[in-house]
Symmetry: C2
Subunit: 415 residues, 2 copies
Amino acid sequence: MEMKVSLLMVGDELLIGQVVDTNATWLAQALWQLGIPVVSKITCGDDMDDIVAAIHASFEKGEWVIMTGGLGPTKDDVTKKAIASFFNTELKFHQETYDRIKSYFNALKRPLNELHKEQSFMPENGEIIQNELGTAPAMLFEFGNKRLVSLPGVPYEMKDLFDREIQRRIKAAIPESPYFYSTLRTIGIGESDLSARIDELPVDWDRDISLAYLPDMAQVRLRISAKGVNNKDAMEKVAKARLILKDKLGRWVYGEDNDSLEIVVGRLLLREKKFLVTAESCTGGLIAHSITKVPGASSYFKGSVIAYSNEVKESLLKVPAQTLKDHGAVSEQTVIAMVRGALITLNADIAVAVSGIAGPDGGSEKKPVGLIYIACGDANNVKVTMLQLNKDRQQNVAYASVAALNMIRKFLLGL
Amino acid sequence: MEMKVSLLMVGDELLIGQVVDTNATWLAQALWQLGIPVVSKITCGDDMDDIVAAIHASFEKGEWVIMTGGLGPTKDDVTKKAIASFFNTELKFHQETYDRIKSYFNALKRPLNELHKEQSFMPENGEIIQNELGTAPAMLFEFGNKRLVSLPGVPYEMKDLFDREIQRRIKAAIPESPYFYSTLRTIGIGESDLSARIDELPVDWDRDISLAYLPDMAQVRLRISAKGVNNKDAMEKVAKARLILKDKLGRWVYGEDNDSLEIVVGRLLLREKKFLVTAESCTGGLIAHSITKVPGASSYFKGSVIAYSNEVKESLLKVPAQTLKDHGAVSEQTVIAMVRGALITLNADIAVAVSGIAGPDGGSEKKPVGLIYIACGDANNVKVTMLQLNKDRQQNVAYASVAALNMIRKFLLGL
């Protein structure tokens, strides 16, 4: 028997779009890593009747329902009342929770208020699991083969509770999963071209394999999923298919699963024992930020000059005033000079430089919004690319950063 | 009569958490700006039966159902088939769509393939709305007072179609909305303290006002919502409540609605005619990236030195080797020196500097992971803050960036 999970995300802020729901994504990934598919996801507002109805609807799809949100101390949070109503039970004062909240606030040297007393009322039929990073505990309810888990909506509290307490309870309850999936990450090839290439599959291609395409910012992730007789079987099917696909797609594939471009670039730099620096104008530090997301980046990344003004391009990156005058800040000549300047100023082996017009203003007929130059190179050799993007400011910048990371990758691989 | 909208997000990648669903957030915000509440949000996988069932469930909550995703050229996308099944109709070859796709690919100088022909088959009972940024058109179906809208899942295509075509169709169809909401943005005060302050409300406080608290990274957004006899009435109720709350919360409030911290900081710099620069170690460019997200940032931001290595701290930011030796890179003395160095090297009026241990490695007993120093100042006066965070690498960096932006704000306001 397989186990299925439904997610139920509670919060007016999710319905009206005031926050992006990263909790659902994170939980679904964590569950997939246990081989458990999320089969339903419902988002509902902070309304008791709606929550109760959504709990019922969620249990129609999965045996486990994991819900987040609505556990805060303030009056708009009604999840506990809804759960009590679902189980036809009452909220009771829970001393351990109150003591926990008290010591939490004592540690922060902040006073308790009346709301924290209210927050210590819990449904009486559940297991209460204390929250080490905040005040709202998690709850687990068992009835028959079904389980209802309620987690706080604050992302790091939710994650900590899931990792520390919920995960092992799920593992203990489930039979082995027959599912497995893996992802190939491609860059520089569109979804339909990718698909056209893949469609000529070998004759012995396993029909239990399904493929899905996830396009995002110059990249397409290709998800390979299989259901097998057991987890090992599914994993082997996926591994076999992955080899065939990697072979077919060659240099378009830059990584697998959680290999982001910045992780791949970091790995290559480490292998080559080279230090990277960036010289950024329109990307404003986003390339450096991406690179330093990776733990240990200090082993191959020295730093950057963000030269948002021409003054800084001249003073720190030694771009000649004449180059800026003759060709403009957004030009092939300028990004090449930025690479050369960054290599010297920051004393590095490889540099990448970006200059462009992110928009919405600053464009002209000759140099429209979305025009971006990227250069990447070392002391001997500098390559340049021009992009003409048609996105909004933020997306132009994000796309240019991804393209810059890919140029570093290609430079390091000699592609 | 009010109009209600249900969102239906289609895609296995959303259920299994392979992408974060930003479309739902964006759509809900766009609808709220029209005064239309999203009353339901269902996420379902790329499965025909599931999609058909979810369309039915969505229409139980709202008269309009806006769905996204599942319109791509590849085989995993089945939304059009599900819609045809829902309406009990057929998919037919649609010449205009095919011509559109053809000219789109001609412009990119890329060949068409067989999948694009398939992609030109559309349900015959809908209005087809061409996509100017991609290949999958949007569709609108009318039946009675109900509408089904299907949009592509690629975010910028979806947004463009909504803004250009769908929004005015919604406006034409709706009676005036009785809802309005606005947000106060606070920083430096916790959710329950905020609530405790607010709970002593004046006696003439409008009981139709509801408040919600959205905590996120050192900030809490306070949403003030009202339902009135009409939109203007609701707006006036919110405006009155907002004044009362701003007065109660004073300096904790840094902005309203879409005023991000970086927008507020930019506005202050522009007013003071001052130029900002950043000197970043552990934040790796994130502060600069935040500041340059705002269009026109070049009027008050010159650039940054990202000094990830001590070498760059010394060479470009002129941090004395002795300071690094005596106190370490993560110290009050170092961030003060970084501010002073950045002011000179980058020739600016105000600088902010951050140095810390983002984790997961690099901590020691004396200087644990999460220890972060921030300095902000001008040539006359430099202030320093120390944070001890307990989050993961990415969150420590994000939190430090927000705290740095707030220090700039407070410095500019003399707080």
